[in-house]
C-alpha cells in the first residue's frame, strides 16, 4: 500500500471515531473503572519477583528473581493429583451445571400453570442464598453415618453398615459435582429463562404452521435460541476452572477424603498463604492468571471455529 493510501485510511478511521464519539462516551466510565480497579493494582505483581517484607512499601522490595515461581513449581510438582481433582470437579460442574440449567429452563417453559411455574422458578433460586456452612449442615443431616439416608437404607434392609459418603475418597467428586450443580441451577437458569423470554413469538407461530409438535418446538425453536447464551456462559466459565470456593472446601475436606477432595486453592492456602507470605501468593496468582487467560483464548477460538460464535 502506498503511503498516501495509509494516511487516507487513518483519516477515515479518525473521521469514523468522531462520528462514533457518543459510543466512546458511553464506554468511558466502564473502561476507566476497569482500568482503575482491575488493571492498576497489577503493580502489585512486583511482589511476585521481589522479596516483599510486610509493612514496607511494595516498591522498595528488592528484586528476588523467579524464586517464588520456582518454589511454587517444586511444591506443586508432587501435587499433580490436586490439579486433577480441581479440573475434574470444576469442568464437570461447569458443563453439567449449564446443561442442566438449560434443560431446566426449557422444560420449565412447558409448564402450563403459570403460578406453579413461577413458584418453581423462585424455588430454584433458594440454594444460592445459603452459605456453605448451612448447606453442609443439611448434607450432614442427610448423608452422615447417622443421617437420614443411611438410616432409611438400613431400615429397608438394603445395606447393613452405613455408607460413609462424607468421608470417602471415592465419593468426593460425585458429591461436590452434585452439590455444585444443585447450588447454581437457579442462578444459571435465570439467564436462560431471560433468553427464552426474548424469543419472538413469530418463530413459534411459524413452526406451528409448519406442523411442529411441542417437542419440535422445543428442539427447533427454543433450543437454538439458547445456544448462544450457553456458549457465552461456557466460555466465561472456562477461565475459572482453576478457581474454587475456599469456604466450600474448608468444610467438605477432611483427612479421610483429602486425596480426591483437595483442590488447588486449598493446597495453595495451606502451604503458601500462611503468615503474610504475600510474595508467594502473588506468584501463584500470576501463574493462575496466565493459565486462565490461555484457556479463555483457547476456548474462545475453538468456539469460533466450531460454531462461528465467540466472545472476542
Amino acid at each position: 500500500m502506498t503511503h498516501g493510501v495509509q494516511t487516507a485510511g487513518k483519516r477515515v478511521a479518525l473521521q469514523k471515531m468522531v462520528r462514533q464519539r457518543q459510543l466512546y462516551l458511553m464506554l468511558l466510565p466502564a473502561v476507566v473503572s476497569v482500568a482503575i480497579f482491575t488493571y492498576a493494582p497489577l503493580f502489585g505483581w512486583w511482589m511476585a519477583v521481589s522479596d516483599y517484607k510486610l509493612g514496607k512499601s511494595i516498591f522498595q522490595a528488592p528484586w528476588a528473581g523467579f524464586k517464588y515461581f520456582e518454589e511454587f513449581f517444586t511444591d506443586t510438582a508432587g501435587a499433580g493429583h490436586v490439579i486433577v481433582n480441581t479440573l475434574v470437579m470444576n469442568v464437570a460442574a461447569l458443563v453439567l451445571g449449564l446443561v442442566c440449567a438449560l434443560a431446566f429452563a426449557i422444560f420449565l417453559k412447558e409448564v402450563r400453570w403459570s403460578k406453579f411455574r413461577r413458584f418453581v422458578q423462585s424455588a430454584s433460586f433458594f440454594p444460592y442464598f445459603m452459605s456453605w456452612v448451612i448447606i453442609y449442615a443439611v448434607i450432614y443431616a442427610l448423608f452422615s453415618n447417622d443421617g437420614a439416608v443411611n438410616a432409611s437404607l438400613q431400615s429397608l434392609g438394603l445395606i447393613d453398615k452405613p455408607l460413609n459418603i462424607l468421608g470417602n475418597p471415592n465419593t468426593s467428586w460425585g458429591l461436590i459435582i452434585t452439590v455444585d450443580v444443585w447450588n447454581i441451577l437457579g442462578y444459571n437458569s435465570v439467564m436462560f429463562i431471560a433468553a427464552i423470554a426474548g424469543i419472538p413469538e413469530e418463530q413459534y407461530e411459524a413452526a406451528r404452521i409448519d406442523g411442529a409438535t411441542r417437542f419440535h418446538e422445543m428442539r427447533y425453536v427454543t433450543l437454538p435460541n439458547l445456544i448462544p447464551t450457553l456458549i457465552v456462559l461456557l466460555i466465561l466459565g472456562s477461565g475459572s476452572i482453576f478457581n474454587s470456593y475456599l469456604d466450600q472446601f474448608f468444610i467438605f475436606t477432611n483427612t479421610l477424603n483429602i486425596s480426591t477432595m483437595e483442590v488447588f486453592d486449598y493446597y495453595i492456602y495451606r502451604f503458601g498463604l500462611k503468615q503474610g507470605n504475600f510474595s508467594y501468593a502473588t506468584a501463584v496468582g500470576v501463574v493462575k492468571t496466565i493459565v486462565s487467560l490461555i484457556l479463555l483464548v483457547g476456548v474462545n477460538w475453538i468456539s469460533r471455529k466450531a460454531t462461528e460464535q465467540s466472545l472476542f
Binding site: 466510565p29 466502564a30 502489585g44 442464598f129 448447606i135 438410616a151 431471560a194 457465552v232
Partner: protein
C-alpha cells in the same frame, strides 16, 4: 390455542415438583432448625417441622442493637449499587456490540481479560486506600460499577435484537444515545432484570468488602457483616452464658436464624423482579 394436558405435562410437573422440593428443603430445614427448641434437638436427623418451638435464636441474634442500622446500609447499597452498575454497564455493553466501532476488538479484549486478571488482596487494598475509599460507603459501590460479566451478558442479548430497528431509527436522524435509551434498552428488559437480580443479591450478600475496608467504621456495617461478625467472633462463651440466661441456643442455631434474617428481604424483592425477566415481550410488534 389451548392444548390438552397430556402425559408429558404430568411427568414434567412431577419432575419440577421434585426439583422444587430439593431446592426448598434445605431452606425449610434451616427455618425449622432456627425455630426449634435447642434443648430438644440434638441429632442429625432430618427435620420436617420445628422440634418444639423457640424464638431464642432470633432473640439472641436481634439482641445486637446495631442490626437496624445495618439493614439500612444494606438496603442502600443494594439499591444504589445495581442502579449505577446498570447505567454504566449497559451503556458499555451497547457500545461494544457495535462491530464497526473503531478499535472494538481491543476494547473487548481489554474488558474481558480483566475478569481473569487478579492482582491479589494486598495491592487491591492499597489501591482502595490510595483512592481514599476505605472507611466510606462508596467502597461498596464504585469498584463494582463496571461489571464485565454483566456487560458480556447484556451485549450478547443486544446482538440478538434485529438490526433493522436501529438502522431505520438512525436513518431518521437518531443519535446513538437516543437509539440506546429509547429503543434498545426497553427491549432488553429481560436481561436487565436478570442482571439486576444478580446485582441486588450480590450486594445484599456481600460482607467481605466491609470486613476488609470498613471494619473500623461500625456505622457503615451492612447487616450481613454484623451478623457474620456476631457468629465468627468467638462463640463458645456467648452460648454458654446465653444458655445460662435461659436462652438456649448454639452457634449452629444462631447461624440458622441469621441466614433466615438476612435472606427474607431478598426473597421479597425476588418475585418483583421475576415478573420482568421471565415474562415474554411482544418483540414482533415493535418491528417497524
Amino acid at each position: 390455542m389451548k392444548r390438552k394436558i397430556g402425559a408429558f405435562d404430568l411427568i414434567n410437573g412431577l419432575v419440577m415438583l421434585l426439583i422444587t422440593i430439593t431446592m426448598i428443603y434445605p431452606f425449610w430445614y434451616v427455618l425449622c432448625y432456627s425455630l426449634s427448641d435447642m434443648g430438644l434437638t440434638g441429632g442429625s436427623k432430618l427435620l420436617l417441622w420445628p422440634r418444639g418451638f423457640s424464638l431464642d435464636s432470633y432473640t439472641v441474634a436481634f439482641s445486637n442493637a446495631t442490626i437496624m442500622h445495618g439493614f439500612m446500609i444494606s438496603v442502600a447499597r443494594s439499591v444504589l449499587g445495581p442502579l449505577l452498575m446498570l447505567f454504566i454497564s449497559s451503556m458499555a455493553a451497547y457500545a461494544i456490540s457495535k462491530n464497526d466501532l473503531v478499535g472494538v476488538k481491543w476494547i473487548r479484549r481489554f474488558l474481558f481479560f480483566s475478569m481473569y486478571v487478579s492482582a491479589g488482596l494486598l495491592p487491591g487494598y492499597i489501591l482502595i486506600r490510595t483512592l481514599g475509599l476505605t472507611g466510606t460507603f462508596w467502597v461498596y459501590i464504585l469498584p463494582g460499577v463496571a461489571n464485565v460479566f454483566n456487560i458480556v451478558l447484556i451485549r450478547a442479548y443486544v446482538e440478538t435484537l434485529p438490526a433493522g430497528l436501529e438502522e431505520s431509527a438512525m436513518i431518521d436522524g437518531a443519535t446513538y444515545a437516543t437509539v440506546f435509551f429509547r429503543i434498545v434498552l426497553p427491549l432488553c428488559v429481560p436481561v436487565i432484570a436478570a442482571v439486576t437480580l444478580y446485582a441486588c443479591v450480590g450486594q445484599w450478600n456481600s460482607y467481605i468488602d466491609a470486613q476488609l475496608y470498613n471494619y473500623r467504621n461500625p456505622e457503615l456495617y451492612p447487616v450481613q457483616y454484623i451478623l457474620y461478625n456476631y457468629i465468627a467472633v468467638k462463640a463458645p462463651t456467648k452460648e454458654a452464658s446465653a444458655a445460662a440466661h435461659g436462652l438456649i441456643t448454639t452457634a449452629h442455631s444462631l447461624r440458622m436464624s441469621v441466614t433466615i434474617i438476612t435472606t427474607i428481604p431478598i426473597l421479597l424483592v425476588y418475585p418483583f423482579l421475576q415478573k420482568y425477566f421471565a415474562s415474554g415481550l411482544l418483540v414482533g410488534a415493535i418491528k417497524a
